[in-house]
Symmetry: D2
Subunit: 338 residues, 4 copies
Amino acid sequence: MHYFSDNATPVSPAVMAAIAAADRADHGYDGDAWSAQLDGALSALFDTPVSALWIATGTAANSIALATLCPPYGGVICHEEAHIVVDECGAPGFFTHGATLMPLPGEGAKLTPDVVADRLKAIRPDVHQVPACAISITNATEYGLVYSPDEVAALGELATAHGLGFHMDGARFANAVAHLGCAPADITWRAGVDALSFGCVKNGGMIGEALLFFGDSAPARAAEAKRWRKRSGHLFSKGRYLAAQILAMVEGDLWLRNARMANAAAQALADGATGRLLHPVQANELFIRLSAAEAAILRAQGFDFYDWGDDAARLVTNWSQDAASVAPLAHALWALTI
Amino acid sequence: MHYFSDNATPVSPAVMAAIAAADRADHGYDGDAWSAQLDGALSALFDTPVSALWIATGTAANSIALATLCPPYGGVICHEEAHIVVDECGAPGFFTHGATLMPLPGEGAKLTPDVVADRLKAIRPDVHQVPACAISITNATEYGLVYSPDEVAALGELATAHGLGFHMDGARFANAVAHLGCAPADITWRAGVDALSFGCVKNGGMIGEALLFFGDSAPARAAEAKRWRKRSGHLFSKGRYLAAQILAMVEGDLWLRNARMANAAAQALADGATGRLLHPVQANELFIRLSAAEAAILRAQGFDFYDWGDDAARLVTNWSQDAASVAPLAHALWALTI
Amino acid sequence: MHYFSDNATPVSPAVMAAIAAADRADHGYDGDAWSAQLDGALSALFDTPVSALWIATGTAANSIALATLCPPYGGVICHEEAHIVVDECGAPGFFTHGATLMPLPGEGAKLTPDVVADRLKAIRPDVHQVPACAISITNATEYGLVYSPDEVAALGELATAHGLGFHMDGARFANAVAHLGCAPADITWRAGVDALSFGCVKNGGMIGEALLFFGDSAPARAAEAKRWRKRSGHLFSKGRYLAAQILAMVEGDLWLRNARMANAAAQALADGATGRLLHPVQANELFIRLSAAEAAILRAQGFDFYDWGDDAARLVTNWSQDAASVAPLAHALWALTI
Amino acid sequence: MHYFSDNATPVSPAVMAAIAAADRADHGYDGDAWSAQLDGALSALFDTPVSALWIATGTAANSIALATLCPPYGGVICHEEAHIVVDECGAPGFFTHGATLMPLPGEGAKLTPDVVADRLKAIRPDVHQVPACAISITNATEYGLVYSPDEVAALGELATAHGLGFHMDGARFANAVAHLGCAPADITWRAGVDALSFGCVKNGGMIGEALLFFGDSAPARAAEAKRWRKRSGHLFSKGRYLAAQILAMVEGDLWLRNARMANAAAQALADGATGRLLHPVQANELFIRLSAAEAAILRAQGFDFYDWGDDAARLVTNWSQDAASVAPLAHALWALTI
């Protein structure tokens, strides 16, 4: 069984069914019946008027969000291990026309208000220095940690106080909400978030994430984002196949049910990996100490995963697994230790 | 029945089946088994070693192709009614970082060597003027006309003589080949084309076109294009679903069979529209004189299509139609005249 | 005597004196005493509060102005022979991050409201097409013609009606005002102009033009322009040497006196070139029919100038000439004909 | 007496004389007699064929150099306190179209091969991560430290081994050479440097630095840089006034004589500041511990300088000072301590 990535997983059956159901003639681009329902469905989910777009990938959603929040001469406060910093080949720089990422340290890839405040204080307000214009955080983080509503709100207050836009990379937003048991609103607009990359693909989708804007400026930002979407070649001819996926995710809380499955599977693995965990397990990722010899033993038993530097490994669970299905690996991990 | 656009059409059943067949775990991005077959399948189709990438949309494929062929300070010779000029919200300017489109006139949205040569001659070779670095043509054109192998080759010779890259927007490449009855190679690399946007979506695909590079520099250009693909947010997490579609298109010449259907349907309509045609019908588009009153009559009979300015209309046929299925509109058109 | 270009001319003595006077210690960049006077001096000259910056070149001033008026996905309505189109190596595309120039025809490189209105009407208001966001005109034009206050105002009304920014390339603004005998305000903010590239170098300066913003949004646009100025490497370490030049130009109306000299010299030449003029002579440029043989005769007499295509030439007069000093060429031109 | 910045200083008399001597008619842009001598003069100085351009500012020279060495999807290894990182408002991001600066720590703003090698090792060679494409160092550094020939060469070897371009920001190159007593070649092309921003303004110039390219690829890179220079609005109409300054600097080794004066003045101050130095004094900058009370005492005596965070100050000497002229401040510093 593979634990490479939630990207390696097939598509959730309900999503596949929704794609099939969308397979009939309709207007092109986002002029179809499915795309027209996005704002409504996501406004209901987030309990506030939302402007929503389907976007092909998380990288594009993040970058387009940042392009609406930060001018080319501005900077984006973010974690030094954020996906936008290390795994997008500079996409934010492309979409923002050269805005500066301002990477900061922090345990488990989480930003803390103190570190952010210090960075802001260090910027001279003259034209020689790049002014911070936005904060971007990832929830759940790249290490599977989850920002609580209070933690997000503390950063949101900083953003508001300094006139910064606030973006959340939610590639694993569902896993965060599933862990917290809160309302989606609690860690987004109620905590000051202006723009959310609402991930679907890792959570059972095929192609397409949702980009959401909150607040009074949402319609204007979404209108601008639609320009960027077209200008960057992301306005699909047959957008209905993307919109249908997102709607299927929202329908009956599939997004949350899928995330709960993945999280539960991760917890089951964590039980087997006591003493090995490099980070607490809150979402669907485990980072564990694992020697090369131990990794070889597991692989010999048919478990696939990525090494994480030397003497460590990353295990990612997904919507198609449950505690039972990962029990063999949990046991194998436990067996390594005794 | 709608004649809005080939984008409005459902997905070809074989493509849908291929998507379903790809719905199993595999490596993410383009590390999967389907993506690995693209070079081979398209090299076979084009009878030469080809470097191929799946790309989400035609706009992205065109823009990434141009980014590999033209520096920011360069210019792209193209037709003034080309899709890259009028319908991509400036995407080529985004991907090339501000390269200049150099639009030229020409009957039926076709470039001719004379017009191109005159434009090239008018550019002073100093740093004050933008040097032409590439030519881009659309085959079939935005008016449904087809460049013959000789016509492409004449432009290819100009490109070679002036050291220009040569790109073909093949959103309806299949319709062009179906009309010509030639080998795909005859209107591409044998005629000097360096990069081809090989359209699938209008021809029965769901999401994804292929971007092809020909010639000795193909691997280097493809490697650079892969950087652009990632950097522009176009490297899908689950790329296998795109690769599978392209492979399905190539398999058993589905691409050609679909295009022949659409072309035949267009010819059937053309027979009914004698005397109304604004351009010869060679691919799957008709541009016809049609008064507002006549348009209303057709619409009252259930035919949907777009107006084309005043007193004209555009009718687009697609892979799901045949001569029989469009006979009612052909007859209705004929009936308007008598 | 040379008639190549007003760029080929030495610096006006008063400007050179001002540079020498500025040659003492002061704060760097634009923190000096001279830079601090720019807003005041130009506000007085234009009879309205103006936000002004020194900028190295006309190309940079034009481009930075456009960057404040037009987003990357927007378009700039301009003349097809405008300097920004043909002689800046795509600089506007660089500074605007790929905004689209929308070149239009017009006699003598002048835009007319009808042509502009038609172009605006042809743009579909969807995300596929580039929306016009600004108009840019050159006064005096690249052919030495001058827009009157009414002509500018007619374009200004169009700009206002469509929510477009309005920029004037005033590389030869002084020559235009000298020809019209109007107030500088009459062809700028009173006629709807938002941003003016106020040329100094062709008119006796060494290095440095002024970029002016008018109206309520002027301070915000100037603040943004200062970011662009720094970001594009145009914030000189010793800006006082530029500011001093601009102040010297304004002082005692040197700018206007210099332009009147150049214009008068051009008129004197025009008298000798009766029957040869390709355009009326209003500023300091003459475009004349001149065979290769005739050109050779003039050059043999020591007159230097550029050919203008075949059988034509461009003659540019400058601030250091007067009617008397150009009399020999005027006579030589007249002598060619008899 | 001011110690704010070498930018605050007047122009060296020989430079002013050269400007006056250039004040006659010649061809515009870089078509003049002075510009034509740059390659020759700098090739002689560097003892190798050099391709040289005048560029308005250090920021522009650095950025254009990097634009020729690094594609938009690439990264530039540099020090975290480098001018390109903290004081150019993101200019390198603008000119490179969003390339990523990769800031590293290091004592005194100096990069060491170990730190660079570790950073290079950490980059995965896939399309998700930004590949390093260039190294940029500043000599003398932002803290006035000087890289020796061996130190530069060690970084140059790393650059060569990894196929990276190598750029030197030489805003205070003259001070570095004056300190080392080596040939200019020893810390540039002989040590692997591809491109040098050769500073003049801080060293007695008015406006204009030189950008130099070394090696076989120099002519091609310079040709590309000339495109960027025009496209970024940096091709001055009257370039002769810049070229003349650079030639005056090279003539009779004025550049070196001026730098020696500034360095000697800094050494004299350093003698008075024993025990206060935050960095060794090698060039013309001192960073000293200085309490607010002490700073007030010095300012009351008429010495002007910038605070450097809390309890520290920066003192910059310049070409117009010598050990005698700075003796009063040296004494005042010494007097603070006793």
